[in-house]
């Protein structure tokens, strides 16, 4: 393994994030606060509890996941798209790095950043509500798994995209709607049929509920099912990346 090479990419990416550290941190703090002010006060006052959980606390895992998804995709896709765009990818391609090592560098850095943002949201949420995490270790592991999965997905987007606007398309047009419709801020049990059953086809439901389970020990779907679904998505992304490096798709001519 070329650990130094992986570390070099990781440091480079983290350095890139550090250049925008303050906006990078201010944005999640401000949006979280806004969510609490809007959802917490406006809706929470009418709907104090969901499944016996205080509404304010209930939305924390959803908020963290929403940011984790978008941050992961954006950071990872930008990280690999930028060198493709400027041409500096030549150096990565000519370095003694295997596909796995390249991906570890970029995805590792993007996942670190995305998890930091999710944790900042977690901390900010404590200013507004009491959140008690039932399974802290599982919660962290789940955070890592989801961040890794969405960073892999972002890496694919960054290679697929032909321009910077396409980097925005996937998060804005697919992930954000799926997250809002996937029970980030409500329990899908509150939906009427057939909407509840239809919602079960939304993969984000499993991601959010798996994460929520680590907080409260209860969720709309069983933790095992959620974990399996997340893992399946993770493997699918790995498969696509393996194919990208094998064929050189949009990386090499």
């Amino acid at each position: 393994m070329n650990w130094r090479g992986i570390w070099a990419i990781y440091k480079f990416e983290m350095h890139r994030f550090a250049r925008t550290l303050w906006t990078g941190l201010a944005v999640p703090v401000i949006t979280t606060s806004l969510y609490f002010i809007v959802f917490g006060s406006a809706i929470g006052s009418r709907m104090s509890e969901i499944n016996g959980i205080d509404y304010g606390a209930f939305i924390v895992p959803g908020l963290m996941m929403l940011s984790l998804f978008t941050e992961s995709i954006f950071n990872a896709s930008f990280g690999i798209h930028m060198p493709r765009f400027t041409g500096t990818i030549y150096e990565i391609l000519s370095a003694p790095l295997s596909a796995i090592e390249t991906v570890l560098g970029y995805v590792g850095a993007a996942a670190s950043k995305a998890m930091s943002v999710a944790l900042v949201i977690f901390v900010t949420a404590h200013l507004f509500v009491d959140v008690h995490v039932e399974h802290p270790l599982l919660m962290l592991l789940y955070l890592v798994l989801v961040a890794a999965t969405f960073c892999l997905f972002g890496f694919i987007v960054g290679i697929w995209a032909k321009g910077f606007e396409q980097l925005q398309v996937i998060p804005l047009l697919i992930i954000t709607p799926l997250t809002f419709l996937g029970g980030a801020f409500y329990s899908i049990d509150m939906l009427k049929e057939p909407w509840r059953s239809i919602t079960l086809f939304n993969p984000v439901v499993y991601l959010i509920n798996g994460f929520r389970w680590t907080f409260f020990g209860t969720a709309d779907v069983a933790f095992g099912t959620a974990l399996a679904a997340t893992f399946a998505f993770f493997l699918a992304c790995l498969g696509v990346i393996w194919w990208i490096f094998r064929t050189g798709y949009r990386l090499k001519s």
Binding site: R4, G5, E91, L93, S94, A95, P96, L97, K252, S253
Partner: protein
């Protein structure tokens, strides 16, 4: 260890667009030499280098580095290779020294500030080490590209058109640097479309055109050809054939029979010109005009390309 450090075998590349950029190229690079790949734009020079460096996927053929396949042993191969690409592409928001250190570590080398300092000093970049890359001039950026390529101490260095758009001073510095690297045992392959550059720098020259390597020769051999001159004689009356009495000089007759061409070594004691002219007079062949000129590398080059076009 064998003499050739790098062997290219039947290397082919057809781009998705259908362009045949390389048509089965075979080439051996000798350990420690400076090899110049000379060819016009679009000849396939960058494609050849990019395949060796792992940036472009070949359609066929293989590259051996010290006898080892460059894909199967990609770690070893790439650790040994440094590349200065044709385009000035870099992370423009990074400070100079971090981008050079990055290159070293990316190639799996232990961080070594001393070595980085040496490289930057040698390329007159040390004073600018903290400068953000986008603030550097084009010439400085070219030096940075070289520093990045040297950062992991490769023993095979590729320079793709290193002096394109570079001022005289940098060109001189670069050539000095290339010579110093060679003294330390680095094998250097550079591409250029300037004949003078190949002439000044290289031990051997390969001429590539339309994806085909049409000649590989010691530069001194080329220089010998360069030392030759050509005599053109415009005849008063066209000839149908060269008379046997002139066969000794082996002249060439143009297709319309109006020009006689004689090639000679300008540095030789006897050029053979006076005797040829005497023989012509005796044979009753008169001429209207004559001129001699040096056959330059350019001539040889143009002639070769002409040849390969005619053959195609």
């Amino acid at each position: 260890m064998s003499e050739s450090i790098l062997s290219i075998r039947g290397l082919r590349k057809q781009y998705a667009s259908g362009t045949d950029a390389l048509k089965s190229v075979d080439l051996d690079i000798k350990r420690g030499e400076i090899f110049a790949l000379l060819g016009p734009n679009g000849a396939g020079k960058t494609t050849l280098i990019s395949i060796i460096c792992g940036i472009v996927t070949p359609s066929g053929g293989e590259v051996l580095i010290d006898g080892k396949n460059w894909q199967r042993h990609f770690r070893e191969a790439r650790t040994r290779i440094g590349l200065v690409p044709q385009e000035l592409t870099m992370d423009v928001f990074e400070p100079l020294i971090s981008t050079v250190s990055f290159s070293r570590e990316l190639f799996g080398r232990r961080p070594d500030p001393k070595r980085i300092e040496e490289i930057l000093r040698e390329l007159s970049l040390w004073d600018k080490r903290k400068t953000i890359l986008k603030e550097l001039s084009g010439g400085m950026k070219r030096r940075v590209m070289i520093a990045k390529a040297l950062a992991h101490d490769p023993d095979i260095l590729f320079l793709d058109e290193p002096t394109a758009g570079v001022d005289v001073e940098l060109r001189r510095d670069m050539w000095n640097m290339v010579r110093r690297l060679r003294e330390h045992g680095t094998t250097i392959i550079l591409t250029t479309h300037y004949i003078e550059e190949a002439e000044e720098m290289a031990d051997r020259v390969g001429v590539i055109n339309k994806g085909e390597l049409i000649l590989v020769e010691e530069k001194t051999e080329l220089m010998k050809k360069l030392g030759r001159k050509v005599l053109h004689l415009q005849l008063a009356e066209p000839l149908a054939a060269i008379p046997p009495t002139l066969a000794e000089w082996n002249p060439r007759l143009s297709e319309d029979g109006s020009t006689l061409t004689y090639e000679f070594d300008a540095k030789a004691e006897r050029t053979g010109i006076p005797s040829l002219l005497t023989a012509m007079r005796d044979a009753g062949i008169a001429f209207k005009d004559l001129d001699t000129h040096q056959s330059s590398l350019e001539d040889i080059f143009v002639g070769l390309i002409h040849h390969s076009k005619a053959a195609a």
